[in-house]
């Protein structure tokens, strides 16, 4: 949910209309959470299957379920402890659909700086580092500074920069 907040703020900062929705009925008790976000001229807060440009996924099984939202030629960033474990048939199919699939052990990196909760920010940083997303390093950094709680700011920025570094080709 924090990730969705980061991108919403980014959209507002860039002067884009922001729409989105979150399903979090039982999320705090371990149910799945999906946040949809649309930046630009849209009417509906929900994304239709096969139309999303970018997918961020923080958990392997959730990735399989959320892949359907990506459009042909879309790009996804997946937090995977062991990138070799992702199903090769699915990977192959994604390749045929022109989907760029990038996985990275964001949890591991977050754990190394003592903050598993920062996994999402590491992965966002990673995506910026790859240059595959139209978000600027500086803009996202500024957004993180404005939306982070004071006590988390330092660790969030650290997580972000680690991600960016790891994402660079």
């Amino acid at each position: 949910m924090f990730s969705s907040k980061v991108f919403s703020e980014l959209g507002l900062k860039l002067g884009l209309d922001v729409m989105g929705s979150e399903t979090h009925g039982m999320s705090q008790r371990g149910g799945s959470v999906i946040a949809h976000l649309k930046l630009g001229k849209f009417q509906s807060p929900v994304i239709r299957t096969g139309t999303a440009d970018i997918l961020y996924s923080f958990e392997e099984n959730e990735t399989y379920r959320a892949l359907k939202f990506l459009r042909r030629g879309g790009v996804c960033f997946v937090n995977l402890e062991d990138p070799g474990r992702f199903d090769p048939k699915v990977l192959n199919h994604l390749k045929k659909s022109g989907v760029t699939f990038r996985s990275f052990d964001a949890s591991g990196a977050a754990l190394r700086i003592g903050s598993i909760m920062s996994t999402n920010i590491v992965l966002i940083g990673y995506s910026v580092g790859t240059g595959l997303v139209p978000f600027k390093h500086e803009d996202l950094r500024n957004v993180l500074e404005s939306v982070s709680q004071k006590k988390n700011l330092e660790i969030n920025l650290k997580a972000f920069e680690i991600g960016v570094r790891e994402g660079k080709p």
Binding site: G25, G30, I47
Partner: protein, 614 residues
């Protein structure tokens, strides 16, 4: 967020009194009103009431004094408040009174998918049906004005995809309306006897007719999108289905082929506008969620396709994917267009073949409710377990929950089970579980009725000192009110005693062994000739709300080589911090989740979970 926009509408309308009982997807409205009150220095009275009917009546009374009042709840909450709703439609209101009832098609976090707009029809009050957060905010303000103009309570029905939607919302200045409470006595109205009720009903029907007339001429909430000439299909739609449809038509470049009539006031339905729209189109499709409120009201349905003709699913929410599929099949049926099949079939097949288990919600690591359920299951494995609405519904996973009906039914069903068996001279153990907030909501009438009628069962009140499931709202037991100011604390044990219960014990459920003992004693008490209902208050604060409490006396555990990977703890204790390592074929502790509660020591039949030697 939609609920914040609704809260903003409430303060922009100059509302004086706001009440609620928490429930997804409505829970964020009150905290947002509190926030606006603090930021803007308003004098708004805000309360978390003990239940939705209490909230409704408090708001209504404010309206009777001439003030503006709002009450917010989830859709099943309106069932609880329905007695007041039905009657207040007849008596009417003075100051604007707006009822916000948030629907949960899907359902994502509710017992039913009921459509609150039917409640508006049933009670005969007008209802606004917003499509976006921005519209919800504007509708709240209009609802206050309409309510005051016609002296009638008005419902706003946002669905979860409006309440939880994000949108950049334009705000307007906050209105401060200076009104002193001034209740004007009028017993023929406020205390109407049946003879006067007939008169009031007649007046209500007249008001509704006038409101319908007003809605006919309204173009702010009821309007058309499209060019309206020689178009083969017209769609009548509302709520979030409307905006989903707009995005789909844009994406498919079908805007010119389809006209839309957007309805924001589904009851009373602007019949003339609808009839005129239908008249102009060869075919008409009605897409609305959750149920067929608009469609049912249409008088001449000969050209209408919808839920009643089998073109729209009877259950579930209308996601953009579902709407796309509806559109594709209707356009094909009518020979208008042949759309591509939605989604990537090959991908679905591949994912399906992976056989991924759905993530099921579970109680948090260290949750005191897990400890209580584990003890209940150990002490009385053959009991009937009637439970209730809250986090502890997840006791299902521990097989310690057999029934979940509605708020308060943990006790009432236990009482009913007892009498049904007792009638046949059968004595069976029955354990009811209920949270503290639910007990305050609707436990007392249930409990005192059960005591009065000689029922016998064990009630375990899982007191975590907060309304946890819906996002940590304070309870009467906490003694803190909605805006953080001090209220009077209600003591559970005193309340239980006042219901006539003679056997009450309080224990920390982390003390599993003693809780098991206590449950066995309680069972004996229910069987004694002079026994009755036994109540155990299992009190331990919620770990999400009070994370420091557990940190005070940590019991760090480890798993010894005695673990043979039997899975008992994983399957029957189900703590997220315990998992079976496939490589080692034994259970391991995930320290990212473990909170050092030490309760799992009791969960291992082999004694392989032990405290770490200090």
């Amino acid at each position: 967020m939609g609920n914040v926009a609704i809260a903003r509408g409430i303060v922009e309308a100059g509302c004086h009194v706001v009440t609620s009982y928490p429930g997804t997807p409505s829970s964020e409205i009150i905290p947002a009103v509190v926030q606006f009150k603090k930021e803007l220095g308003l004098n708004t009275y805000i309360e978390w009431s003990a239940n939705e009917k209490v909230a409704f009546d408090n708001a209504l009374a404010a309206s009777l004094t001439g003030k503006r009042a709002a009450v917010a709840m989830k859709q099943v909450g309106l069932n609880v408040a329905s007695d007041s709703l039905m009657s207040s439609a007849y008596t009417g209101v003075i100051g604007g009174m707006v009822i916000i009832s948030c629907d949960d098609p899907g359902p994502l976090s509710s017992q039913t998918e009921q459509d609150s707009r039917f409640f508006a029809m049933f009670a005969k009050v007008p209802v606004y049906d917003p499509s976006t957060p921005q519209e919800a905010k504007e509708m709240v303000k209009e609802a206050f004005a309409l309510s005051e103009e016609y002296q009638i309570p008005v419902i706003l029905r946002p669905t979860i995809k409006v309440s939880h939607a994000k949108q950049s919302v334009k705000t307007s200045p906050v209105k401060v309306i200076d009104r002193q409470a001034d209740f004007k006595k009028d017993p023929e109205r406020w205390a109407a006897t049946p003879r006067y009720r007939f008169v009031l009903h007649k007046k209500l029907n007249e008001a509704l007719k006038n409101i319908q007339e007003k809605f006919e001429g309204d173009s702010r909430w009821n309007y058309e999108v499209g060019n309206s000439r020689d178009v083969p299909l017209g769609i009548i739609t509302c709520s979030v289905s409307f905006v989903a449809l707009l995005d789909i038509l844009e994406e498919l470049h079908l805007k010119k082929a389809i006209d839309i009539l957007k309805i924001g006031t589904p009851f009373p339905l602007p019949q003339k506008r609808v009839a005129e729209f239908i008249e102009r189109h060869k075919n008409v499709l009605v897409i609305e969620e959750t149920d067929s409120v608009i469609e049912s009201q249409i008088i001449d349905k000969s050209k209408v396709l919808g839920r009643l003709t089998g073109h729209i699913p009877l259950q579930g929410d209308l996601t953009p994917d579902v709407i796309y599929d509806i559109l594709a099949s209707v356009l094909k049926e009518l020979g208008i267009a042949d759309l591509d099949v939605s989604g990537d079939g090959k991908l679905y097949q591949l994912i399906e073949s992976l056989d991924i288990h759905a993530r099921r919600p579970t109680l948090c690591a260290g949750c005191p409710e897990r400890a209580a359920f584990f003890a209940i299951k150990k002490a009385l494995p053959k009991a009937i377990y009637s439970s209730d609405i809250g986090c502890y519904t997840l006791g299902l996973n521990l097989k310690a929950v057999d029934t979940v009906l509605d708020m308060g039914a943990g006790i009432t069903l236990a009482s009913g089970f007892y009498h049904a068996y007792h009638q046949d001279k059968n004595d069976i153990p029955i354990v009811a579980t209920m949270g503290d907030s639910t007990f305050f909501h609707s436990g007392t009438a249930s409990l005192l009725s059960a005591v009065y009628n000689n029922a016998r069962f064990i009630l375990v009140i899982l007191d975590n000192e907060i309304t946890a499931m819906t996002g940590m709202q304070p309870t009467p037991g906490l003694g803190i009110t909605a805006d953080g100011s001090e209220g009077k604390k209600i003591y559970l044990e005193e309340l239980i005693k006042a219901c006539g219960v003679k056997w009450i014990e309080t224990i920390d459920p982390y003390d599993v062994q003693n809780l098991i003992k206590l449950l066995k004693e309680a069972r004996k008490y229910t069987q004694k000739s002079d026994g009755g209902i036994a109540v155990i208050v299992a009190r331990h604060p919620c770990l999400i709300r009070y994370p420091d409490v557990c940190g005070e006396n940590p019991v760090r555990v480890e798993i010894t080589s005695d673990c043979d990977g039997c899975r008992y703890c994983v399957d029957y204790f189900e703590c997220p911090a315990l998992y079976l390592s496939e490589e080692k074929d034994r259970v391991e502790i995930d320290r990212n989740f473990c909170v050092d509660c030490g309760v799992c020591i009791h969960a291992c039949p082999k004694g392989a979970i032990v405290p770490v030697e200090k």
